[in-house]
């Protein structure tokens, strides 16, 4: 079962077990270029773990993850990032002691080695790119603000901005609208709709309305396995899915 070269991401037989408990069990799925894949599933289905495995945060027990024909499971997190995979965490993860500008600057894809970082110069190109991204994520007026003082929603945006500045080919978002006010949620949906153009995206989300808006395909996970996969309409009609969500 060779990975088809036209897939951007190939996940096959991916397995991880924690002390015997298989959180992800022989999982396979494929993501095409420019696809927006939404992963849904009940709590404990292994959604976040899948993202952790792809980006190298958790080491897999078996299987393979290929991205642009590179085996990600053997790579370090930062190498995976450089290969073109960006990851947003469930809770907003920003550098609270730094300003918005500095948060974005650190994510700017240059000067990533130790000495590169030491020699890194904040030139006009960097500044204009940061301004551009800040505008995209609605933070252009807060560049000098310390990240600790941002609202929850603003932190989520900032983290998305930090990913955008890397310009990844595959963007993985873990519950990007969780904990947001209705207004922020709307703004975020708009932001994401803009962001997911020109790249592949994997999103974990519970908000079905939101999922319907953005998903190309939907994968339903249950107990570490794929329960159903297909268009939104397809999975919503799948009796197995209904069983899992409504049954018991």
């Amino acid at each position: 079962m060779d990975a088809r070269p036209d897939f951007l991401l190939t996940v096959e037989n991916l397995t991880v077990s924690f002390d015997g408990f298989k959180a992800v069990d022989s999982l396979s799925f494929y993501v095409e270029p420019n696809e927006c894949r939404v992963i849904i599933g009940p709590n404990g289905a292994g959604k976040t773990t899948v993202l952790d495995l792809i980006c190298g945060r958790t080491k897999a027990t078996g299987g393979k993850v290929e991205f642009k024909n590179q085996e990600l499971l053997k790579m370090r997190e930062d190498q995976i990032v450089h290969a073109g995979v960006g990851r947003k965490f469930q809770t907003p993860t920003v550098y609270e002691d730094l300003t918005v500008f500095e948060n974005l600057e650190i994510s700017y894809p240059k000067g990533h080695g130790v000495f590169g970082a030491l020699m890194f110069r904040r030139d006009d190109e960097v500044i204009s790119r940061i301004d551009e991204i800040a505008e995209t994520v609605f933070l252009e007026d807060l560049l000098d603000e310390q990240a600790a003082f941002l609202s929850h929603g603003q932190k989520q945006w900032l983290e998305i901005g930090m990913l955008l500045i890397q310009d990844p080919e595959l963007l993985m978002l873990d519950e990007p609208v969780a904990g947001m006010s209705v207004a922020e949620r709307k703004q975020t949906a708009e932001l994401l709709n803009r962001v997911i153009k020109d790249r592949s995206v994997i999103v974990i989300e519970h908000d079905m309305k939101f999922v319907e808006d953005i998903a190309t395909r939907v994968t339903v996970l249950h107990q570490g396995k794929v329960l159903s996969e297909g268009s939104m309409a397809h999975v919503q009609a799948d009796p197995k899915v209904i069983e899992v969500y409504l049954g018991h």
Partner: protein, 308 residues
């Protein structure tokens, strides 16, 4: 080096050396149990652990003097009372320290390290002012200081047996407290999820204080027992700190069984190496091995693999 000895002698030596290893193991277990509770369960780095042990030793010293002066008839039994007192005095001080110091620092483990180091200096100075700079000689009842001749060659030190029995007893007590009592459930609930534990009605502040107190109390008992084999002076506690931490960390901080397993492996390694090498080199090699293994396996011997 064994050519000159008969099989019988060698057997006896190996038996006694094995026994020496077991005594060392018991010593390590006693040292580490209190810390395993405090560091392993609460995540507090208590650098004053050795001073709590010495507090127990001083309590034993005072009790022995008291008995010698007022109850000489019961002197041979004073040690048991001394250990109980040591538990409560060290535990009481522990709870006081938790209230005054530690509770402000639960989110800053590295800062507890500094603060408790400061505490250890203060305690040392207090011991020095109260008991003098010199070591105090704790009189041990005679029946505890002899040895049991098993065969002509094999003699077993009674204080060694005592330390071993104590180690087993306290380990069991701690195990029952942590894993079989409702209090233990509360402690583990608080360590795992403080907010949730608070939400379901556990008095987290009280649980913390009690846990810290019990950890210190166990240290006090250990110190009391160590008057039989070590010295009691203001700075004696500092000698234990590195070994103690290594035992706990090597075992995998959160695991009681790990602490015991690590105490066992470190003590056996050290005891065997001490027999074949010089004492200093044995110590260096033991520490190096532990550090080396920790570098390869930072989570320690026993650690649950968890989703981060």
């Amino acid at each position: 080096m064994f050519a000159d000895y008969t099989m019988g002698e060698l057997g006896a030596i190996f038996a006694m050396q094995g026994f020496a290893g077991l005594i060392l193991f018991s010593v390590f277990v006693l040292m580490a149990l209190g810390l395993a509770i405090i560091f392993g369960q609460m995540g507090v780095i208590n650098m004053a652990h050795g001073e709590f042990m010495i507090l127990g030793a001083y309590v034993t010293y005072l009790t022995s003097n008291l008995f010698a002066d007022y109850l000489p008839a019961l002197f041979s039994m004073y040690f048991f009372l001394a250990m109980i007192l040591a538990f409560f005095v060290a535990g009481g001080l522990g709870m006081l320290v938790e209230w005054a110091l530690i509770r402000h620092l639960y989110k800053r483990p590295l800062d507890t390290l500094l603060a408790t180091w400061g505490l250890s200096l203060i305690l040392q100075q207090i011991y020095r002012s109260v008991f003098g700079a010199r070591e105090v000689g704790v009189s041990i009842p005679d029946w505890m200081m002899g040895s049991l001749p098993l065969t002509d060659m094999i003699e077993v030190p009674i204080n060694g047996i005592f330390v071993m029995v104590l180690a087993v007893g306290i380990s069991l007590a701690v195990y029952i407290m942590m894993f079989r009592s409702s209090w233990g459930k509360q402690v583990r609930a608080v360590t795992q999820n403080r907010v949730m534990a608070g939400a379901v009605g556990i008095n987290t502040a009280r649980t913390d204080r009690l846990t810290f107190g019990i950890g210190c109390g166990v240290a006090g008992v250990a110190g009391s027992a160590f008057t039989m084999i070590g010295s009691t002076g203001p700075t004696a506690g500092q000698l234990y700190i590195v070994d103690t931490f290594l035992v706990v960390v090597f075992g995998g901080a959160a695991s009681l069984l790990g602490t015991i397993a690590s105490a066992f492996s470190i003590s056996q390694a050290q005891s065997v190496m001490e027999f074949f090498l010089s004492g200093s080199m044995a110590k260096v090699l033991t520490l190096l091995t532990v550090v080396g293994i920790l570098m390869l396996r930072p989570q320690g011997l026993f650690a649950l693999k968890l989703r981060k």
